[in-house]
């Protein structure tokens, strides 16, 4: 029973493609998986927007949306209908072709990143040997779409927003990628499926071997998560769309459906980064404890994904926006060195083993590096009353 439930979707896909000729079967399977991914995460997107608005409202002691549907949970449908029926306005001076292509160029790579995520046992849409690289390659090409959107609108704000977005994404891409290299070193594979399998509990052990349960893994997980916040342009790294100064940033000149596409790409990017964090550090679809193995694997994946998304929302409701120099300082003076220190630490862990020796050697390195780098980032700075040159004090 548990096994059928576990493999339910795999069997379903198998049943759908079985009658087809051998040659086109993988392509059809890929297309069906893509459709399923779009449907599931499209719905996730809608529900997340509502939950986010409600949760942040509660954090600010407000009620949040509560009009459409039960407890306001159909608000996303209303919003969707609204954006779809809105007029699509293209600025007269805009570069029409590039302006049109930008949302597509943003959405397509983001959707492609989902293809290599293992949603459950045997549930990777495209099980590449270099899956991790595929994820980063697709993720990196979104930057160009951001530039296209910002530049083709012929608007100062959109260009500023695009510049900020690209500077931020380029800076955080380094720790984003570097923090995963430890995992690649330990598991010896770039395939997401293999990485997940390496984290399952070994026979006879009660605790799974998730990478987050190791000192270097915990640090790398936090780095990856912070970089994922920055890559998805979410608070506290939402300078590219800083409402107070550049209105909406690079997609300021988009309306209607294209605006919705940008919005959706942003959320999908958040989902895929969270999914990758789950895959790399939280053991993907594996259960944390060996005795919980009977729960279907995809439930574990989506449960962990939900937890991470809740964390994203929680942080968004908490933190103010960073300043540009703080943003850059954090990326280059804290995250990058820490990511570089984690790499040899992971190597040491590999040779020192999972036992007390590994902990004894690696934990002090990670904690010490964290404390020292953190102190060098914030400790030196004396905080004193601000003075303004022009405004009356």
């Amino acid at each position: 029973m548990a096994a059928t439930l576990d493999q339910l979707f795999v069997q379903l896909l198998h049943g759908m493609t079985a009658p087809l000729p051998e040659a086109i079967r993988p392509w059809v399977a890929l297309a069906i998986s893509l459709g399923a991914i779009l449907a599931v995460f499209g719905l996730c997107f809608g529900i997340t927007t509502v939950c986010e608005r409600k949760a942040i409202a509660r954090m600010q002691n407000r009620l949040g949306p509560n009009r459409v549907g039960p407890y306001g949970f159909l608000q996303f449908a209303a919003d969707g209908i609204k954006t779809l029926t809105k007029e699509d306005i293209v600025p007269r001076t805009a570069d029409q072709v590039v302006h049109f292509l930008a949302p597509l160029a943003l959405l397509v790579p983001v959707v492609l990143t989902f293809l290599v995520l293992p949603f459950g046992r045997n549930m990777t849409a495209m099980d590449l040997e270099v899956g991790l690289l595929f994820f980063f390659a697709a993720g990196a090409s979104t930057e160009l779409a951001v530039f296209m959107a910002g530049w083709s609108s012929r608007n100062k704000y959109s260009l500023l927003g695009a510049m900020r977005a690209i500077a931020q994404m380029l800076s955080y891409e380094l720790p984003f990628i570097l923090s995963t290299i430890g995992v690649v070193m330990i598991t010896g594979a770039l395939s997401t499926t293999k990485i997940v399998e390496a984290q399952a509990a070994a026979p006879g052990e009660w605790l799974a071997r998730w990478h987050v349960f190791t000192p270097w893994g915990l640090a790398a997980f936090l780095l990856f998560l912070i970089a994922a916040f920055a890559e998805s342009n979410r608070s506290p790294f939402d300078l590219p769309e800083g409402e107070s100064e550049i209105v909406a940033g690079y997609f300021i000149e988009y309306s209607g459906f294209k605006f919705a596409l940008f919005f959706m790409a942003e959320y999908l990017g958040m989902f895929s980064s969270s999914g990758m964090a789950v895959t790399l550090f939280l053991g993907g679809w594996t259960a944390p404890f060996a005795f919980l193995d009977w729960v279907p694997s995809w439930m574990w994946f989506f449960g962990k994904l939900g937890v991470l998304i809740a964390l994203f929302i929680w942080v968004r409701g908490t933190t103010p926006r960073l300043r540009m120099d703080q943003l850059m300082d954090f990326a280059w003076k804290f995250m990058l060195p820490l990511a570089l220190i984690i790499l040899p630490t992971a190597a040491i862990w590999h040779y020192a083993g999972r036992g007390w020796l590994g902990w004894l050697v690696t934990a002090p390195i990670v904690v010490g590096a964290y404390v020292l780098l953190g102190r060098s980032l914030v400790g030196r700075r004396r905080i004193r009353q601000r003075s303004y040159r022009y405004a009356a004090t």
Partner: protein, 218 residues
Amino acid sequence: MLGIGLIKGLAETGRNFVGSYLDPDRLVTVEYPEERLPVKENFRQFPFLVFDGEKADIGLRCVACQICEKECPPQCIYIEKSKDKKPDHLGKPQFYPAVFDIDISVCMSCQICVEVCPFDAIKMDQQFELSTADRFRGLLLTRDRLAKPNSHFQAIHPRDAAEIDMRRVDERAKAEAKAKADAEAKAKQATAAAPGATKAVASTPKPAAAPANEGAIS
């Protein structure tokens, strides 16, 4: 250490998140169409015309003097004087507005019309739910839509209304007393000059009404 502030912040928002479910008093939102806060007495939206008694076309206080029309800064009042006259609350015949329109899409709620009206005929309303699908007709308030009974004014501005009502009662009493005194004086005159009695009686209202009118203006 780096990160402590973030954890403190997360704890704070988490506390508010949970607290807002446990303790409804934290929520500040007023769910407007169902719940509403009482409006303040001094709140004002757009002007309306006050009438006494039951019927708007009889009791309208406005005498179509057109002062408000001239004073209104954005010129959103339009008045057409009537051809005939009707007695006001003191019994004096007065014009009345045949047409009285206020375009509230232009009105800026400055209350100047209220300040200048010598007859307490125009006051500020508190009705704010004025949205309409017809932005031309729906926002041009005609005399019939502007006219509201004095009881409405008493309800929304109790203090002002009480003061004005007192004044109007006084004026009326004075006017009546004066009319009576004049009538008596006239009657004495009439008895003194018996032959012209019928003529004198016919002309009594005129001198009686004139001072009453002056009193109303001051």
